[in-house]
Symmetry: C2
Subunit: 231 residues, 2 copies
DNA sequence: GAGTGGTCTAGACCACCCT
DNA sequence: GGGTGGTCTAGACCACTCG
């Protein structure tokens, strides 16, 4: 574990376990340097990390302070694949409703930067939380990169499998949000009448060397989902 | 202007003016060090900046590459106050429909961390783009911090006025997104039938020393708005 | 003016990719 | 093995805040 990550983890943990309030002053840079016996730059790196994550904010000439989100039950946008770790306490359940290999349509090919007709895994899942339907997820994985998938993998965490099983690391992602009226099958899956409001999130995930491997469309139930974003 | 910002600006400009494609390789760290005559750390700082912004991605042992957004017409979440600079070419127009000083309700007091009854500026505006209504904006500014506002200011860029006129600097922000059905006045303003889909974005802006000064509710027209998010 | 965060340097060493 | 990005250090100096 890298020093700056390790220290970041410890500070975050401290904020959490001691349940520090927004605006609480944390030890100064100098104190952290002494405490962890590292150079000042390493501490500043750590703090930058935590700042971007939204855990703290720094005020020049004054100090370092705790930043806390003040609403519960919101899904954090800007984290891997929506869920894990966000709605902490709440368990998100996935039910697979479709799993097959299909040929890429034009839309898929555009988003995955591949040729029309290339093989992709199609995975459709319904995500729910405490029995409430949260979203319908329609994911396409580029078969050339994701060489193997099976039902037991997609019933769990696909991304964990990619990291640990296939040694594919997520580099970055693009997300496109738009609001629509529900139509046809999606209405049924979400358990909503036709023409209900719905948030569509289209996500593209790239490996750490910049190749897209996952294009997903997430249809969110408007009454059971709300989202959060920092900075 | 700080070196690392200056260099970041130049690299961004280069990507834009030369219209470099996604995946184009940029000069290596060593080359940049030589070119700008700064230390390696400064270059790495610059690149971190650009990476977070979504302009580039770095691959260890391989190089630095251009990252481009591949869809047009999306509003970038995660930038100051939604608009300026996003829908570049397109001019966003603001029409003020309400401007007064009111007492903070419980909702406002909670979000602005002040007392119920404290004075706040209320500004309601309709944002449109090429004649199409984009959103209705309902903003509350803490009067204790924003000591003065007038119509000509709020018809332009409020945030620019805060920076330049009042020397108030935006530190960070929280955004909460949820989807609803339009009701009453909002429907009328948006020019939509009752119970149309609508995205509500609640934003809280904090000064650089951590005090909230602006709580805004933005009601977006679902057919005229879509959003974008990176990393 | 003391304390505290922010920028910048020069250089050592490590980790990873590619050929 | 050469090239390239990533981490870390130690120290100089600057900019801001607050009492």
């Amino acid at each position: 574990m890298l020093k700056y990550q390790e220290i970041a983890r410890e500070i975050e943990k401290k904020i959490k376990t001691e349940n520090l309030k927004q605006g609480t002053k944390l030890p100064s840079v100098g104190e952290l340097v002494a405490q962890y016996k590292v150079s000042k730059n390493t501490i500043l790196r750590t703090l930058k990390e935590l700042e971007v994550k939204g855990a703290i904010y720094q005020v020049q000439g004054s100090g370092i302070f705790v930043r806390r989100r003040n609403r519960k039950g919101y899904i954090t946008l800007l984290e891997h694949k929506g869920f894990s770790g966000d709605l902490d306490y709440l368990e998100v359940e996935s039910k697979v409703i479709n799993f097959e290999i299909v040929a890429a349509t034009e839309e898929i090919a555009n988003n995955l930067q591949c040729e029309i007709g290339d093989k992709v895994y199609l995975v459709k899942r319904i995500q729910s939380i405490q029995g409430q339907i949260l979203s319908v997820e329609e994911s396409y994985y580029k078969k050339r990169l994701i060489t193997f998938l099976n039902r037991s993998i997609i019933e769990g965490s696909i991304f964990q499998y990619l990291e640990e099983g296939l040694n594919i690391h997520v580099g970055f992602s693009d997300k496109y949000l738009s609001v629509h009226k529900t139509k046809g099958q999606i209405s049924k899956y979400l358990g909503l009448p036709e023409n209900s409001p719905m948030l569509l999130v289209e996500e593209i995930y790239y490996t750490n060397n910049g190749e897209p491997f996952d294009f997903s469309k997430l249809y969110y139930h408007y009454e059971h989902s709300q989202f959060f974003l920092q900075s």
